[in-house]
């Protein structure tokens, strides 16, 4: 072997050296500071395959379905959910305080672009919320000509939340974004949200419902601008009531009244079967939960330290849901697995008489020409029309550019203000988070429901807790588990999660 040959680098050796260097660089990079700007590379597939969204209405709806903080956790411990939010939300409903000044003018001095991610937004005004968002942002840009706002939409489901959360976690491309309160704690933990304390005025503090501040407070700091509180209400498909000659019940109706009506409204029309009731069951949603709550059992203790749905009142609440399918037969055969689009279509096609759903879809159905009304949830043992919901928020990401950060805060403040409703009538799709906000029909029909809404807890563990509860509720609806088994089985693991700080 010649000297040259010996010194020559073989292909195998070169590949080995290159591969080794690549592995080493990967390990070094990953072992280093974890401030990478890209999302982690698990093998999970892209979220874009996810289900499509429906219209505007779902924006508010999802705020509710995803859930977050418990007012109960921070307010005085009430014996029922109704007790937890009533005072503050009632204020929202009944009070129309004076507008608290100029919300639209940004004094940040910032010149440039802001990226705003909006839940349920479709570019080009694809739905009512998109149009109102476009109008609101246009008004903001008109008042602040140096600031250009770009809106990016994301769908109100797990895939959509994943999209925005990953964008926020990557630390780029998002300045302000809509988020349901149950996703907030994880992002706060990761340092992906900027505190709003320095940007809140005294007027803001007086105007925003005080218990909602509790939902966005971590270690004494406030982290998001509360927008609205969309509670789950009972949608009544009035044409079906009329078709069958069924009178609307009093608003203090009971579960038995509800079942009797649902039975009357379950019938065959030509080749179609019409069903009395249905609801969405989704790990990110609470649409079917008001019945479970109606006998007075809350999922967690008032301090969010203990799982409390393993009680007789919780079992009887869940039994009300399962009986609708298994005993009373007033639900569609796919009850428990229907998609949101299927349910919305069934309502539009007058194949479903009643539907528990947050406020957002009221606009969609009304605009579709459907004759609907909103009723409170039937009374249970608690004696109160208990509902469930979350809080829609607008959060701002941290930015070293203080002017840009202030501009994003100003945008968020405007988009959660009473002024935006004046500038863009119909902007609010649910009862507002400020006393001064007055919402219009049909969303104002939820005003009486909101005070009795149990608000999902703002704790980091909630994302795991809800996926523990969801399949068991489904299995109970399918008749594969008893309500006792369904709600007691996850108790140990949930309590273990809650014991973690």
């Amino acid at each position: 072997m010649s000297e040259e040959t010996r010194k020559r680098l073989s292909r195998r050796k070169f590949v080995a050296l290159t591969g080794g260097a690549l592995v080493a660089s990967g390990i070094l990079a990953a072992c280093g500071d974890n401030t990478a700007t890209t999302a982690p590379a698990t093998t999970a597939p892209a979220a874009t395959t996810a289900a499509s969204t429906t219209a505007a209405a779902t924006t508010a709806a999802t705020s509710t379905t995803a859930a977050a903080t418990s007012a109960a956790a921070t307010t005085a411990a009430g014996t029922t959910a109704a007790a937890t939010t009533s005072a503050a939300t009632t204020a929202a409903v009944t009070t129309s305080a004076a507008s608290t000044g100029d919300f639209i003018t940004s004094k940040s001095g910032y010149k440039g672009n802001l990226d705003y991610w909006a839940l349920g937004y479709a570019a080009g005004g694809g739905n009512a919320f998109s149009k109102s968002s476009d109008s609101a942002v246009a008004a903001f840009m008109k008042a602040n000509p140096d600031i250009k706002v770009t809106i990016t939409g994301y769908t109100p489901d797990n895939a959509g939340f994943a999209k925005v959360v990953n964008a926020v976690q990557s630390g780029s491309g998002v300045d302000a974004f809509r988020i349901p309160n149950d996703s907030l704690p994880t992002l706060i933990q990761q340092g992906a949200i900027a505190p709003i304390d320095d940007y809140l005025t005294a007027d803001d503090k007086n105007d925003i419902l005080p218990n909602l501040f509790d939902l966005v407070k971590v270690n004494g700091k406030l982290y998001a601008w509360p927008l609205w509180v969309p509670p789950v209400g009972m949608y009544m498909n009035l044409d079906i009531f009329k078709e069958k000659g069924v009178d609307l019940p009093p608003k203090t109706w009971t579960y038995d009244d509800f079942v009797a009506i649902a039975k009357k409204l379950t019938f065959t029309r030509g080749s179609d079967k019409v069903y009395g009731f249905s609801a969405l069951f989704d790990p990110g949603g609470v649409d079917s939960w008001p019945f479970i709550l109606s006998d007075g059992a809350l999922p967690l203790s008032s301090d969010n330290k203990k799982y409390t749905w393993n009680t007789a009142d919780a079992y009887s609440g869940l039994k009300k849901v399962t009986d609708l399918a298994l005993v009373h037969k007033v639900t569609p055969p796919d009850f428990g697995t229907q998609k949101q689009d299927d349910l919305l279509t069934a309502m539009k096609n007058k194949l479903q008489a009643m539907w528990t759903r947050p406020s957002g879809d009221a606009g969609t159905l009304t605009q579709a020409g459907l004759n609907i009304d909103i009723w409170p949830i039937p009374l249970g043992k608690s004696g109160k029309p208990i509902s469930a919901g979350g809080v829609g928020l607008i959060a701002v990401t941290p930015n070293k550019d203080t002017a840009k950060q202030k501009a994003a805060m100003d945008l968020a403040r405007y988009l959660t203000s009473p002024q935006v409703e004046q500038d863009v009538p119909g902007y609010y799709l649910a009862p507002g988070a400020r006393k001064s906000v007055t919402v219009k029909a049909p969303y104002n029909k939820f005003a009486d429901i909101a005070p009795n809404a149990w608000i999902t807890p703002s704790i980091p563990q909630w994302t795991q807790i809800r996926t523990l509860i969801h399949p068991n509720i489904q299995n109970a609806v399918f008749g594969k588990m008893t309500p006792e088994q369904a709600l007691s089985q996850p108790a140990d693991e949930i309590n273990k999660l809650l014991s973690q700080s």
Partner: protein, 312 residues
Amino acid sequence: MADTNITQVNSPAVQSTNPFVLFFRRYGWGYAFVFPSFLAFAVFTFFPVIWAFIISFQDFRPRGGGSWVGLQNYIDAFTTQNGVFVEALQNTVIYAVVTVTANIFIGLFLASLLQPLSNKFQTFFRAAYYLPAVTSAVIIAVTWRWLFNTQWGFLNFLLGLVGAEPVRWLSDPDIALQSIILSTVFTIPAAGVVLFNAAMNSIPKDFYEAADLEGAGPLRKWWSITLPLIKSTTLYVVVLYTIASFEVFEKVYIMVPSGVGNSTQTIVTQIYQTVFSQFRYGVASAQAMVLFVIVVTFAVIQFRFFRTDVEY
């Protein structure tokens, strides 16, 4: 010409004894052409896999502040969320075994039917069978969801014609997974058909002519000539479908987005839920690594089972 060569040989660069210079002089262009795809592989495949492996040992937080947790993520992967990951593993293995077996047999069967046809007909049917492969998986899943709809789905319509009760294809936890498997089995394995057909067409005709002289029938020829000689293609198709089956996601996610209890959870839907719904990156990476090990194990077994020394 000869002078030029002498000049080059005597130039200082050629006389360099630096092994890297010598290496790049000899192989540089080849590597230059390979480099772009190698870079894409390194950045988008290799590096993420290594990173996911490392994250699987961390309490990872994308914006920093994570910590090493040893094997805790692997323990959590199997023990938390009421052990749903174990259920997902079982579901995925059932899905993979049934669909891969069915796809191989259907692919072989259809390719064998095509083999005797003229080139023109083979081309037509290959294109027809390949149609599902160029159609979005989401569209196919949405179509199957419609077919399976309990109230107005086509399958229950057919059952109704013979007086049978409607079946809750996608809302009965006892049969939801089987329904999803059925949808995969009934979607023609396009790649399998095309690959098997190409492999069969590459078998020299002499073998079949010799068999004809010996009086072998079509079945005998298929069993003794065709099957053994397409073994390497069979290995490729089996591995291809096995990997795809273990990574099944979009079909489940579209057809039963909210799940049916946990009866339709697969490994990847579970990974998706862990990372995108619960934001537990470390645990999700651990689950992804488990999937990686399973797929590699199955691939190695299949390579051993189907390996062949036959060349023609």
